[in-house]
């Protein structure tokens, strides 16, 4: 066993000597080489499916064969060439509704993740960097929030705020930020003892500047990987809230709400199957993507 190989057995993607010690230090490598590490089947499949959905979001109006809110022929028609996913109890084309629903379900999930990350990172960074009672107060708050099952707490918050997608979105942020607060705090605690931070301190940089310039950027990789992995859960959470009547309001084609419609017409399976299939593909895709990215960056410090 050589020293180099032994010193860097797992951290780098190539596991080889002289390669970067942290995932972010490889910026000197050519782009093509850097990209090669992402060429894993999981990532490729995930990325392609996600891209397809992004395309759907952009072009839903063009791609959808029918008006998602108006009756487009008979009601409760089974899937056919005319209606790929059939029609629902009001005669609306389920396929068109699924496409339009992507415009609600997916951006809301992404926004919820982004906002959770933002809130959580700030809280975690402040807690980790300043320590003491600030840390204690913030982290106990996070612990208390995380002590409740996320779906239950989200339901409670959404119920208190009243139905509507905006409120469902806020409810999700309210239950999801602690995950990132804890993750970022852990990162900060380890990063703040590194030499470059000590050096910055020695030259008299202010604490906020150190936090902003030298500490936070280094904790972003695990956060972004984690966020990708959580996206699937959030998509399901949004749909769950809508399914329970706490999210999207009728006649919104939000996927969870569509599944509720389907539940009322149990024997017309296609009404719920359409949004169900859509949800499966997109959640699987982001999970593949998240798993793949985690393997690439080998982030072991998952916050949960």
């Amino acid at each position: 066993m050589t020293i180099t190989a032994g010193a860097l057995p797992e951290t780098g993607p190539f596991g080889g000597a002289g390669l970067p010690q942290t995932p972010l230090d490889d910026e000197k490598l050519p782009f093509r080489v850097r990209m090669r590490r992402f060429a894993r089947p999981q990532i490729v499949v995930g990325a392609v499916v996600v891209l397809v959905w992004v395309g759907v979001i952009a072009l839903a109006g063009v791609l959808a064969p029918h008006d998602p809110f108006a009756s487009s022929g008979g009601r409760l028609l089974p899937p056919s060439a005319e209606h790929l996913f059939g029609t629902d109890s009001l005669g609306r084309d389920v396929f068109s509704r699924v496409l339009h629903g992507a415009r609600l379900s997916l951006p809301i999930a992404v926004l919820a993740i982004v906002l959770s990350v933002a809130v959580g990172s700030v809280v975690g960074a402040v807690a980790g960097f300043f320590g003491g009672w600030v840390d204690a107060v913030l982290m106990r708050t996070a612990d208390i929030t995380m002590a409740f099952p996320s779906i239950l707490l989200a339901m409670a918050v959404a119920a208190a705020l009243g139905p509507g997608l905006t409120n469902a979105f806020l409810a999700i942020v309210a239950v999801w930020w602690p995950i990132y607060a804890r993750l970022v705090r852990g990162q900060i605690l380890s990063i703040k003892e590194r030499e470059h931070v000590l050096a910055a301190r020695a030259i008299g940089m202010s604490r906020t500047a150190i936090l902003r310039k030298h500490v936070l950027p280094h904790s972003l990789t695990p956060v972004s990987v984690n966020a990708t992995m959580d996206l699937g859960s959030i998509i399901i959470l949004v749909a769950s809230l809508s399914f329970l009547g706490l999210g999207a309001l009728p006649p919104s084609p939000e996927w969870g709400a569509m599944i509720t419609d389907g539940a009322a017409n149990f024997y017309q399976w296609w009404i719920a199957a359409g949004p169900g299939i859509a949800m499966i593909t997109v959640v699987l895709a982001v999970n593949f993507l998240g798993d793949g990215l985690r393997d690439v960056f080998d982030v072991k410090n998952r916050g949960r």
Partner: protein, 537 residues
């Protein structure tokens, strides 16, 4: 560090395994308690979406309450399926010439579940409590000025004005007789200040105090009501050792549980699912006409309902609803249009105008009222599945058709308890709900829906009382025969013109049960009459 993950994974796997075990155990327990019929079935399980607002008979008003109240309590008279009255607690009754005084003579054999006799004082106390609690069923006691027990077996009721409907009213399940001594011991009172001093509502969630065939065994909100046979019942023996009303919220789940034998009777199956079971020999189904209806209610006096103060706007909304489409979407066509808050077939309903879909006329009316570009209204309604109709489907269909006349409905489904609290406090500009008859007399619809003193919807809609309707109701109650029918029709026309209550559909009703059951029914006062229901063999 590298060992952290596998450990966490292991823990998660253990948790999943534990979850599976719990689920399996629950499933097993569920099977053993409610599984398919054993050879000797004596208990019945009824599946329905419950809408219980209270189990205190004098505060309750809901379809499920009708079943519960008539199972554990008894009225002085009962209404037959034909709307005739027959003895129950009272062996005889009479009204004076001008219907201002009613005398009931109680059956001397009648006893409460605790063995104590049903006395005239119990009847007087129960009815006064309905009146003084000022709860939802208090409208049955409108205009009653005195209820007196002249001896142990005689009750005399006096009314300030003639009230020819009162005998019919006493057949309503909410007018059941409560064991006054028992209830009073537990905080109930019938005094004039009962509305603020009565503390028994909670007690009634765990106890019943009636003379009916069943007694309350347990109630768990959102799950089930369990009744057990009243061992000391004074009349004919009950047909079941226990009656469980199980909360099964949606129509398809009811159907599925009926097919699996988890429930013996399903009360709210949808027409879309009906053809799935028509060939199933283990089930019995029948479609019968009903006196139920689903309606849209407009409340001009509520914040957000200002536009509705113009009756032309309310008329336009009525004309903007594509009734046939809504009836198709909700009931696969199995329903009739209805004029106003009087169901088709009730006295006085025959000659009333039936609303028509007229989008052009509606748009013209809206323009005339100052809304050429349409308007936006918030419609908040409870999520329910009633008579096979899902409120979400109904409201989305109405929303679709109103969009054609430029009226945007913002739909907001809420759960039943929220709706129940809000409708009488802040109110909703537009809402949707349903109604099943409480007794065989048309007057209930005026007392509940028209703009007269004490009417539930006049209050909810924040509408001023219409003196003409007030005096017509008083007049009708002093009349009989064709004369009264004509007055009822006139009142119906006024209610139609008010355009506060807009019936969407008078649905047909699906009777669905296991083939082992006989006598499934639709009952005017009881909703489901348990005494007519038995296991075959």
């Amino acid at each position: 560090m590298s060992t952290a993950r596998p450990k966490a994974r292991h823990r998660r796997r253990t948790a999943v395994r534990a979850g599976v075990v719990v689920l399996a155990a629950t499933a097993l327990a569920a099977c053993s308690s409610t599984g398919p019929a054993t050879t000797d079935r004596t208990g019945i399980i009824i599946g329905r979406a419950m809408d219980v607002n209270s189990l205190d008979i004098s505060r309750s008003l809901c379809d499920t309450c009708q079943i519960y109240n008539s199972a554990v309590y008894e009225t002085v008279v009962r209404a037959t399926p034909d709307g005739e009255l027959e003895p129950l607690l009272a062996e005889s009754w009479e009204a004076n010439e001008d219907s201002t005084q009613f005398t009931f003579t109680l059956d001397p054999d009648a006893v409460f579940a605790d063995g104590s006799p049903v006395e005239a004082k119990d009847v007087a106390w129960s009815w006064l409590r309905v009146q003084n609690l000022q709860g939802l069923p208090s409208y049955f006691m409108q205009g009653i000025t005195g209820v007196e027990a002249t001896d142990d077996r005689t009750v005399v009721v006096t009314s300030a004005a003639p009230n020819s409907a009162f005998l019919n009213i006493t057949s309503a399940s909410y007018m059941g007789v409560v064991n006054s001594d028992l209830a009073a011991e537990n905080g109930a009172t019938a005094d004039a200040d009962a509305a603020s001093t009565d503390t028994a509502e909670q007690w009634f969630l765990e106890n019943s105090a009636g003379s009916g065939q069943y007694v309350l065994d347990s109630y768990s909100e959102g799950s089930e009501i369990v009744l057990s046979a009243n061992d000391s019942y004074w009349g004919e023996e009950p047909n079941f050792s226990s009656v469980t009303i199980k909360e099964v919220t949606d129509a398809s789940a009811q159907l599925q549980q009926l097919q699996q034998g988890d429930i013996d009777l399903a009360m709210q199956i949808s027409f879309d699912a009906l053809d799935q079971i028509e060939g199933d020999s283990s089930l019995t189904t029948d479609v019968v006409p009903s006196y139920n209806f689903l309606y849209l209610a407009l409340s001009p006096g509520v914040a957000g309902g200002e536009a509705l103060q113009d009756v032309r706007v309310r008329d336009a909304i009525r004309m903007g609803i594509d009734y046939d489409s809504v009836i198709d979407a909700t009931l696969a066509g199995n329903g009739e249009r209805q004029s106003t808050g009087i169901p088709n077939g009730f006295e006085g309903s025959d000659d009333l105008p039936i609303p028509d879909f007229d989008p052009e006329g509606a748009k013209a009316l809206l323009a005339e009222a100052g809304y050429p570009d349409g308007l936006t209204l918030d419609a908040t309604y409870p999520t329910f599945s009633a008579y096979g109709v899902s409120s979400n489907t109904e409201m989305q269909s109405i929303q679709q058709s109103l969009a054609q006349i430029g009226v945007t409905l913002n739909l907001a489904p809420v759960d039943f308890s929220t709706w129940g609290e809000q409708i009488d406090s802040t109110g909703y500009p537009v809402t949707a709900i349903y109604f099943a008859p409480d007794h065989p007399d048309t007057v209930q619809y005026f007392q509940y829906f028209s703009l007269i003193d004490g009417s539930v919807w006049a209050g909810r809609a924040r509408m001023p009382v219409n003196p003409e309707e007030n005096s017509l109701v008083a007049a009708a109650l002093a009349q009989s025969g064709d004369e009264r029918t004509a007055t009822y029709t006139e009142l119906g026309q006024l209610m139609y013109d008010d355009a506060i209550i807009l019936p969407i559909v008078n649905p047909k009703y699906i009777l669905a049960s296991s083939a082992e059951l006989e006598g499934n029914n639709y009952d005017i006062t009881r909703n489901l009459d348990l005494t007519r229901l038995t296991f075959a063999d």
